[in-house]
């Protein structure tokens, strides 16, 4: 029968349509979960690609020495080339090393003492002492005890000491050292026909060192056989290589002194070496002569590609002040500024919005006047934030001379969120039953008393919801704030002081190219605040619903 056939088709059509509708509804939730999840994930964890000439293997006590820093420092691991840079004035500040805005003070024990000489050899490598160029910042002290005392009392200081000098760890922290490098002879590293050995990851490094790669060409280098040279048997280098998980092949009978020279001399040679020995080798006689003649260095460290992962959003980030445009430090003052902004906005917008709603519901007679007032609110609600920003800049900043600051920003925000507050307050007032008003009036209360003591308390949860929705919108605003509230990330000291809010900070961290990781961390804090407001508003709506039902 044709009728059942078409009926069947219609049912099928309906099934397909409903499935599509369900699917799209689930898509909405998926999008939300993706956005929040992604921002939170990037905000909490960082995963950066790193390039370095040393392997990630870190020694707590290299050569029986310890590297110590002041307790304030966030430094946990230091790479040998950086340690060398610290003692040769390459760095004057910790910001590039550990992200702290602290001056750097390298402390060294007098190299004439045995302890000092050992420390010097760890930084600069062994060899002729007179060729070593200490940085001008370095402060020399007579003994390890004096160095320890200096580090304990001076933030930003660092020293290298014998491990046994660390009797008392109070006020200091120890730092481990990464100094194991992969080195190759110059012919392997040369630029041949526009090809050169590329940076390699851990797997490639391990295969290369253990002899698993036959030719340098496989790594982008020249057509040259790889000649792995193992460290001398029983040497500290061999121990370190084993500890680092490398399996160097072969067991040639050479001592430590001849090892690097053998590496440099081998055709396509590759092996492991301590970074400071490379420095010493570069300073040594032959190498210096070769360099002076304009020849290429005969040994070069390979660059390793790796990933650095860790926690991004730490407690430290929340409680520290931002410095250097947010490059270092945290966001504490920005969080405080944001809350100051919200409170001030609320102080202005709440009375204004509620009063407007009370007038519209309790006093105004329906007519053209009310229609105009409503139209005003509707229009204001539709104006984009960038226009509010322009107006705020023209009116509050320039004409009223408030300047870029909290007050200008908050007044602009007030205008933006006023429609939300007026509309929700109106709804809340409308939902108060007439009987309540009439009862109050019948008891002899004036209209004013009725509104203040009966109607407003009854409508309070609804009004509060509107306020929360309003500041929820204000906390995420950026475009209107950039040109009214300014962008100073220091703690606002008054109504007229320029202040940066969280949302502005997120944007500027991105726009000024400062740090994506930090932008995500700040965004996570911002999302948490928005979520908090959202949950609060929902709770209130829920309670209001129950009250109405009762």
């Amino acid at each position: 029968m044709p009728d059942t056939k078409s009926h069947g088709r219609r049912i099928l059509q309906q099934k397909a349509a409903f499935a599509a509708i369900r699917g799209l509804s689930i898509l909405t939730i998926a999008i939300l979960a993706l956005i929040i999840g992604f921002i939170a994930w990037k905000g909490l964890r960082f995963d950066r690609e790193t390039r370095s000439t040393v392997l990630p293997f870190a020694e707590a006590s290299p050569k029986g020495l310890a590297i110590v820093v002041n307790r304030e420092s966030a430094l946990e691991v230091v790479e040998a080339p950086v340690l060398l840079g610290i003692y040769t004035d390459e760095y004057i500040n910790w910001s590039k090393i550990s992200g702290e805005d602290t001056d750097l003070l390298p402390v060294a024990v007098d190299p004439a003492t045995p302890e000092g000489a050992a420390a010097r050899d760890l930084v600069f490598g062994a060899g002729a002492a007179e060729a070593i160029a200490w940085g001008g910042l370095v402060e020399f002290v007579p003994s390890p005890e004096a160095a320890l005392e200096k580090v304990r009392t001076t933030p930003g200081s660092i020293a290298v000491l014998p491990h046994e000098a660390l009797r008392d760890l109070a006020g200091i922290a120890t730092v481990s050292l990464r100094r194991l490098s992969v080195v190759a002879s110059a012919d392997a590293m040369a630029l041949v026909e526009n090809r050169q050995v590329e940076d390699m990851d851990d797997v490639e490094v391990a295969r290369l060192v253990s002899g698993g790669v036959p030719s340098w060409a496989a790594l982008g280098g020249p057509e040259l056989a790889v000649a792995p040279i193992a460290p001398p048997a029983g040497s500290p280098l061999e121990a370190a290589a084993k500890a680092a998980g490398q399996k160097p092949a072969g067991n040639p009978a050479i001592d430590m002194a001849g090892y690097l020279a053998a590496l440099a001399g081998a055709k396509g040679g590759v092996g492991l070496a301590f970074a400071e020995d490379l420095v010493a080798f570069a300073r040594s006689g032959e190498e210096a002569v070769a360099l002076a003649n304009g020849e290429a260095p005969s040994l070069a460290p390979l660059t390793r590609r790796g990933h650095e992962r860790g926690w991004n959003l730490s407690l430290r980030y929340l409680v520290e002040e931002p410095r250097l445009s947010g490059r270092v430090g945290g966001i504490s003052t920005i969080i405080l500024n944001t809350f100051a902004m919200l409170i001030l906005t609320l102080l202005i917008a709440a009375p204004l919005g509620v009063a407007a709603a009370v007038y519209l519901i309790e006093y105004a007679k329906q007519g053209p006047l009310v229609r105009i007032l409503r139209l005003g609110t509707e229009t204001l609600a539709g104006i984009p934030s960038i226009i509010f920003g322009l107006f705020g800049m023209l009116f509050f900043v320039d004409i009223l001379h408030f300047g870029f600051g909290l007050l200008s920003g908050c007044l602009t925000l007030t205008l933006m969120i006023l429609p939300t507050i007026v509309r929700t307050s109106e709804e809340a007032l409308k939902s108060v039953p007439r009987a309540l008003r009439e009862g109050s009036l019948a008891l002899g209360a004036t209209k004013l008393q009725t509104i203040a003591k009966v109607v407003l308390p009854a409508a309070a949860p609804g009004i509060l919801t509107g306020l929360i929705l309003g500041i929820g919108r204000a906390v995420g605003e950026t475009a209107a704030l950039l040109f009214t509230m300014g962008s100073d990330y220091k703690l606002a000291t008054g109504l007229f002081s320029s202040a940066r809010a969280l949302s502005t900070h997120v944007y500027l961290l991105f726009a000024e190219g400062i740090s994506f990781d930090r932008a995500f961390s700040t965004a996570t804090v911002l999302i948490l605040i928005v979520l908090l407001f959202n949950v609060a508003a929902k709770r209130l709506v829920g309670r209001m619903g129950r009250n109405a039902a009762a």
């Binding site: 956005i35 921002i39 204001l380 023209l394 004013l448 995420g476 950026t478 997120v506 995500f520 407001f533």
Partner: protein
């Protein structure tokens, strides 16, 4: 008694003052925007400003043509609606007609949250996910009309969903019951009776969403590429009116600054026209409903 009356009068006047702030703000915004932007047209012809694509405000002979940005704004907004309207309609229908209570509560919470997420965060998400995906899929920089439109679509979705749901719920029950009683399937009822009946409300919602999208600044700024050129395709970089204002605002002076306010006037005019459209449509709907009820 007299004092009491005087007090009541003062308070009423104060409350009226508060209620008038919105209207006053709209008037002030209009006045100041026009006052700061109109002087440009003493130097540049209105037609040249609106219909030239030549934007070189800092050149030796500065040229102010914003056609590219108008086209940019509308292409990004239009494309975003193309994505957002079907999804928004579907979710609105689901919430109003199909969902069980538990599911609808879940989806409604999600929609509310989507509406509450700040636009810089959409921008950040757009850069890291949407632009990156577009870069691998379609090549180029990934900062494009398409990326901006996708971000905007997600941002306008809540408006369209809410209005669709509200419009469908506002329909009289008899409409649905009548259709079902005539033997129509549920889907036929939704597609042929309910949605057409709620059409004007839905259209108003779409226009409202369009207004939001045209006025959006931060998110499109972060994913649109911001090149002051006429967009040539979906994968072309784009600058919208809002981006044009915020990009140059920090350093512009003289005529350049005035031209930014003039850009603001154009944006403001578009928004006002859209808002007026919404008001008119809603008003017509209300009178229709009232008329139907009267008859």
């Amino acid at each position: 008694m007299k004092r009491q009356r005087a007090l009541e009068k003062t308070i009423e006047a104060t409350l009226f003052g508060a209620a008038a702030v919105s209207v006053l703000a709209v008037i002030l915004i209009t006045v100041f925007l026009f006052q700061s932007g109109l002087p440009l047209f003493g130097k540049v012809k209105v037609s040249e400003f609106l219909f030239s694509t030549d934007w070189a405000p800092t050149a030796a002979t500065p040229r102010f043509g914003i056609l590219s940005f108008i086209v940019g704004s509308f292409s990004v907004t239009g494309l975003s609606l193309l994505f957002a309207v079907p999804v928004g309609l579907a979710v609105g229908i689901y919430l109003a007609e199909l969902a069980e209570k538990k599911n609808s509560r879940l989806i409604r919470s999600a929609v509310e949250l989507l509406a509450g997420i700040p636009s810089v965060i959409y921008g950040l998400f757009g850069i890291a996910v949407i632009s990156a995906a577009s870069r691998t899929l379609f090549g180029g920089s990934g900062y494009s009309v398409l990326s901006a439109a996708i971000v905007l679509a997600i941002m306008t979705l809540p408006t369209i969903i809410n209005v669709t749901e509200v419009s469908l719920r506002a329909l009289p029950r008899e409409l649905k019951e009548g259709s079902l009683a005539l033997g129509a399937t549920e889907w036929q009822t939704i597609g042929k009776v309910l949605v057409p009946a709620a059409r004007s409300g839905i259209v108003a919602g779409v226009i409202l969403g369009m207004g939001r999208a045209i006025g959006e600044t931060m998110a499109v700024l972060m994913v649109g590429g911001n090149a002051p050129i006429m967009p040539t395709g979906l994968n072309s970089m784009v600058r919208t009116l809002t981006m044009n204002i915020i990009t140059d605002m920090s350093y512009a002076t003289g005529d350049h600054l005035t031209s930014l306010f003039a850009t603001g006037i154009v944006l403001f005019a578009f928004i006002l026209i859209l808002n007026l459209g919404v008001q008119l449509i809603l008003k017509r709907t209300i009178s229709q409903v009232e008329g139907a009820a009267g008859a």
